[in-house]
């Protein structure tokens, strides 16, 4: 059994048998073999599975609505794929870099985290370039008089100098490009989070909750360009990230009794059903007559920017049920059918960027070629297939690189990937 297996195996697995998986327990093990290939094969596949799923759902949600959109979870409750993505990112990042911090010290771990931040930043700039190309194209070709007002969005093209600098400062972020800047900020805070977790995990989580509460109370936010605010407020979303990290570093194991209790299960189910009913009223407006006005006024708007408590608890309920009904050793995790999802989840930064790019491209094809339902379905499916294909190619590269020696170095590289977005 490897460290990867130990730590990941027992943390989220609320109902699984407890084993000692505190980071301290992981410390004395040898470092390099822990994350070599066989170990990766045994890593917590549920994390990869759900991160892969989140990536697919984010891609589909970024396309214009179609039949496939009905398969995305945001139509069945308050939370959506973003919550899954950020939580799992926090979990894996803490797992990988937390281990690095224990083994190699704060400085080394911080250095490696910063390298990761740099990779994400470069990816973000790359996506921005593609966005610029797309918007410039639309600006020059599209002159439907119905939409003269909406074309006002092109005004920023008049000042490319300012716009590009603001984009590099992460202040100008077009639609659909909000997740990576959030992730960059969260990763920048990771050394501090881990350092604090090493000291007192529960206090760290408490501080995170406190920051979340303060954000809501005093309306903290990061401003954006040309005006407005970050669409995902890092001060609020850090809660999910830190919670993920806390779970990875032993929190989930300590919660296992709570997770295993039938009370938790029934509360979760009740909450999910209630949330489902509320979302149903959005799509079947006739039902909204059965919603008490008081409840509506108290509940709306369900704020995504500041990670509404309703969204957070919805995610918790989903996670609690998932952990309960999908054991870590479920044989289906090794099945060929889930392989594409798991592969995508294992290379999440690359696949995330690819997904954003494919969504741009999909919009483009829908606009230029045809907007029919068949074309729409074709684009969604081929997008998912391309994501799978690229994920497979990336993992093939890694396997080949492994075979050509430099094992230790590669192990570190893989560890970064495991922690990555």
């Amino acid at each position: 059994m490897t460290i990867a297996d130990q730590v990941t195996g027992t943390t989220i697995a609320g109902t699984a048998k407890p084993a000692d998986s505190k980071p301290a327990g992981a410390k004395p093990r040898a470092r390099a073999p822990a994350i070599t290939l066989p170990a990766i094969g045994e890593r917590e596949l549920r994390l990869d599975l759900f991160r892969g799923l989140a990536l697919w759902l984010i891609f589909i949600d970024h396309l214009p609505p179609s039949l496939l959109t009905w398969f995305t979870i945001r139509n069945y409750g308050f939370s959506d794929a973003t919550e899954i993505f950020i939580f799992i990112s926090g979990y894996t990042a803490a797992f990988v870099y937390g281990r690095a911090m224990l083994e190699s010290g704060v400085v080394i771990a911080t250095a490696r985290i910063l390298r990761r931040v740099w990779q994400i930043y470069v990816a973000h700039v790359f996506l921005f370039t593609i966005f610029l190309a797309e918007i410039s194209y639309v600006a020059t070709r599209f002159e439907n008089p119905l939409y003269t007002e909406e074309m006002g969005i092109m005004d920023f093209l008049k000042q490319p100098d300012v716009t590009i600098v603001q984009a590099l400062l992460l202040r100008f972020r077009p639609v659909n490009m909000d997740v990576l800047p959030l992730y960059i900020v969260l990763m920048l805070a990771l050394p501090l989070i881990l350092w604090s977790m090493k000291w007192r995990p529960d206090v760290t989580l408490g501080l995170s909750v406190l920051l979340y509460a303060v954000t809501w109370e005093y309306d903290l936010y990061l401003s954006a360009y040309p005006n407005g605010f970050w669409a995902f407020n890092p001060f609020a979303w850090q809660l999910l990230f830190v919670f993920g990290a806390w779970c990875a570093l032993g929190g989930a194991r300590r919660m296992s009794r709570i997770l295993a209790s039938p009370v938790t299960m029934w509360i979760s189910i009740a909450y999910l059903v209630a949330a489902f009913y509320v979302t149903l009223t959005w799509y079947v407006p006739q039902l909204s007559q059965f919603m008490p006005k008081r409840v509506e006024q108290w509940m709306y708007p369900i704020d995504k920017t500041d990670l509404d408590v309703l969204r957070f608890t919805h995610f918790l309920a989903l996670a609690a049920l998932t952990v309960r009904f999908l054991p870590r050793d479920w044989p289906g995790l090794k099945s060929r059918w889930l392989r594409p999802l798991i592969l995508c989840g294992q290379h999440s930064l690359e696949i995330f960027c690819l997904g954003v790019f494919l969504a741009f491209a999909g919009h483009f094809i829908l606009a230029e070629v045809s907007g029919g339902a068949a074309m729409h379905a074709l684009i969604s499916l081929s997008g998912v297939l391309i994501m799978w294909g690229v994920a497979w190619v990336i993992s093939w590269y890694k396997r080949v690189a492994d075979k050509s020696g430099a094992k230790t170095k590669n192990a570190v590289g893989n560890a970064d990937l495991a922690g990555g977005g």
């Binding site: 639309v138 008089p145 939409y147 909406e150 639609v175 407005g228 006739q286």
Partner: protein, 256 residues
């Protein structure tokens, strides 16, 4: 209450099963392109002042406060306020005088527009104000909370001046969907409408319905005004129907 729900569900099913123009009640037949499921044209909230004005036989003064998407450049007569006026005149009793005036506040956010409402209302004294907003705020990515506050203030100002208010949200614009984030603004307008118990004309959902059902290809890059004219004609019809419905005017009309 329950009967109403049941009825609307039946209507919804009916309209899905047999897409027939909902034209039985009025003179001009609704073009097939304008068809909409009834739930997009109804509101629980009401327009009591409009109803009173028509009952009393007073002229119906409607003010549309909008932005550049309220009109079609170089074809004002075909824009939705003008079309709504024509349809309302058709549908309401001939004795009823209907006058629609338009106040365009281009490139202004909800907050900037709302600051002019007191003066505007003093000058125009309308029975009904249709306030179309949100696009400029979405383009400039105004903080949705601030946007909600501005819309709330604007609606209060209009109501205090003694008018019924209908809110109208953004256009559905698939081409710019990757660039303009509409959902926060749509949600917040829904909230304000609920809080003030005023009807919300869901232009976004209506236009998306047309695009999804293939009645209009809103991806079209056409430079000519034809598509815009047709869409505005349908919007004008839908809006007229919406106002009549929210003011519960059908019985009046049947008596005449």
């Amino acid at each position: 209450m329950k009967a109403k729900v049941l009825l609307s569900l039946i209507l919804l099913c009916g309209s899905l099963a047999a897409p027939v123009a909902r034209a039985g009640d009025a003179a001009p037949a609704v073009p097939a392109a304008c068809e909409l499921p009834p739930y997009l044209l109804t509101s629980e909230s009401q327009l009591p002042k409009v109803a009173d004005a028509i009952k009393a036989g007073k002229p119906l003064e409607i003010l549309v406060i909008g932005s550049r998407s309220t009109t079609i450049p170089s074809a004002e007569d075909a824009s939705y306020p003008a079309r709504m006026q024509a349809i309302l005149k058709d549908k309401l009793p001939p004795s009823e005088a209907v006058h629609v005036s338009v106040e365009i506040q281009s490139k202004k956010t909800a907050e900037e527009a709302a600051s002019s409402f007191v003066k505007l209302m003093e000058a125009k004294k309308p029975t009904l104000v249709i306030w179309q907003t949100g696009t400029v705020d979405a383009i400039r990515a105004i903080d949705p909370d601030e946007f909600r506050g501005a819309v709330t203030e604007g609606v209060s100002a209009l109501q205090n001046a003694g008018a019924d208010v209908v809110l109208m949200n953004l256009q559905y614009s698939p081409r710019t969907e990757t660039m303009i984030s509409a959902p926060p603004y749509l949600d917040n307008m829904k909230v304000v409408a609920q809080e003030h118990d005023i009807p919300l004309f869901d232009r976004f959902a209506i236009m998306r319905q047309w695009n999804d059902q293939g009645q209009f290809d809103l991806f079209s890059p056409s430079r000519g005004p034809e598509l815009a004219k047709q869409v505005h004609d349908c919007l004008g019809r839908a809006l007229a129907q919406f106002v009549i419905d929210a003011a519960h005017l059908e019985p009046v009309q049947q008596q005449n």
